[in-house]
């Protein structure tokens, strides 16, 4: 049977690849990504399931699913031209993804089907740092975290629980790592950006609060506090927390190996090991 061996939460800031190229492997962001990469390698994954919020590049306002899953053998990205990132072909597992979708729909989560798609920086930037050889297949599950009304935190957590159960019912002995990609407090190109920048962190206290709750394994408290109002107050991409919350569906109240905040940038890096 397949099993979930770990979970990782990461940011996906599109400026980071160019930043790390400029500042080198000793800069803070490079070191933080190296730390989660070591965790990933120690987990020896056969497959990654990534909860992700697309920035209207995979899907658009013409047809916007609240939840969707990629069911394909390969997909490409990034499709939004972040600097210093090549266009990768990323392997996937259509058979496992179709199984996840079937189980989720049976459980009441109507995952939209995406079979021909490209992904943006939100999927590719973490992989660019963590699996640059792109040898590990990745199944993306898309959560609508940017365009209100957002799905509730509780619903996203339950989706994560359901995906976990679905993985555990797959007969092949795969080692699966679940990832959540996104920020806690971040405004991108909106009125609350900082002077001279293209982004800003409207609510660093909220980012700190999330890190504290993650440290404590206080999932119910986090679900209670992560209201739509709070997430949007934290920035126009504050709903990306929902990707972390879906990832927590695999983790429950397990304490993390570490939560490394980068709260002045509105996010964190975190790892959970599951036996």
């Amino acid at each position: 049977m397949a099993q979930i061996v770990g979970a990782l939460g990461v940011p996906h800031t599109p400026l980071y690849p160019a930043l790390v190229e400029r500042e080198g492997p000793q800069c803070e962001t490079a070191r933080y990504f190296a730390a989660v990469t070591s965790e990933l390698e120690a987990m020896r994954p056969d497959l990654i399931v990534m909860f992700d919020t697309d920035h209207l590049n995979t899907f658009f306002l013409d047809n916007l699913p609240v939840f969707a899953i990629g069911v394909t053998e390969t997909f490409k990205g990034p499709n939004d031209e972040p600097r210093a990132v090549p266009i990768y072909t990323i392997k996937s597992r259509a058979d496992v993804a179709a199984h996840l979708r079937r189980v989720a729909i049976e459980a009441g989560f109507d995952l939209a089907l995406a079979q021909e798609f490209t992904v943006d920086h939100s999927v590719v930037v973490p992989l660019h740092f963590m699996t640059p050889g792109m040898r590990i297949p990745v199944i993306p599950i898309f959560v609508s975290g940017h365009v209100p009304p957002l799905p509730s935190a509780r619903r996203c957590y339950e989706l994560g629980r359901t995906v976990t159960r679905a993985i555990e019912s797959w007969p092949e002995p795969l080692r699966v790592v679940v990832m959540g990609s996104g920020s806690f407090s971040l405004e991108v190109f909106g009125p609350r950006i900082a002077p001279g920048r293209s982004d800003g962190v409207p609510d660093p206290d909220w980012a700190r609060r999330i890190c504290a709750l993650l440290e404590q394994g206080a999932v119910s408290k986090l679900l209670e506090e992560a209201t739509q109002e709070q997430m949007l107050r934290a920035g126009n991409v504050g709903g990306e927390l929902l990707d972390w919350i879906a990832m927590l569906g695999a983790v429950g109240e397990t304490r993390p190996r570490f939560v490394t905040p980068q709260t002045e940038q509105g996010h964190a890096y975190a790892a959970w090991t599951l036996s």
Partner: protein
């Protein structure tokens, strides 16, 4: 509801390189293909992103305008204007 059209146009600046070039060369001609209100058209051509934001245009789609420097927008100009929409 042509805010949708403005959002679409912003995304095409990213995706369609020929449209991006046309928007840089002659934005008034390039946007003829879109059905916009006069208010939207004027705001767009003036690079009035605070106005577009108030009309409901998505901020990170609008970010493609200064990123590729169309409608007279650069990052510093965009930064100042969008922050006035607070």
């Amino acid at each position: 509801m042509s805010v949708y059209a403005v959002n679409h146009l912003c995304r095409e600046v990213l995706r369609d390189h020929a449209f991006r070039a046309a928007m840089k060369a002659d934005p008034a001609a390039a946007i003829v293909r879109y059905e916009l209100t006069d208010e939207e058209r004027q705001a767009l051509l003036a690079g009035d992103v605070a106005k577009l934001y108030r009309l409901g245009v998505n901020a990170f789609l609008m970010g493609y305008l200064p990123r590729f420097e169309v409608c007279g927008l650069t990052m510093p100009v965009y930064n100042e204007r969008i922050r006035s929409a607070r």
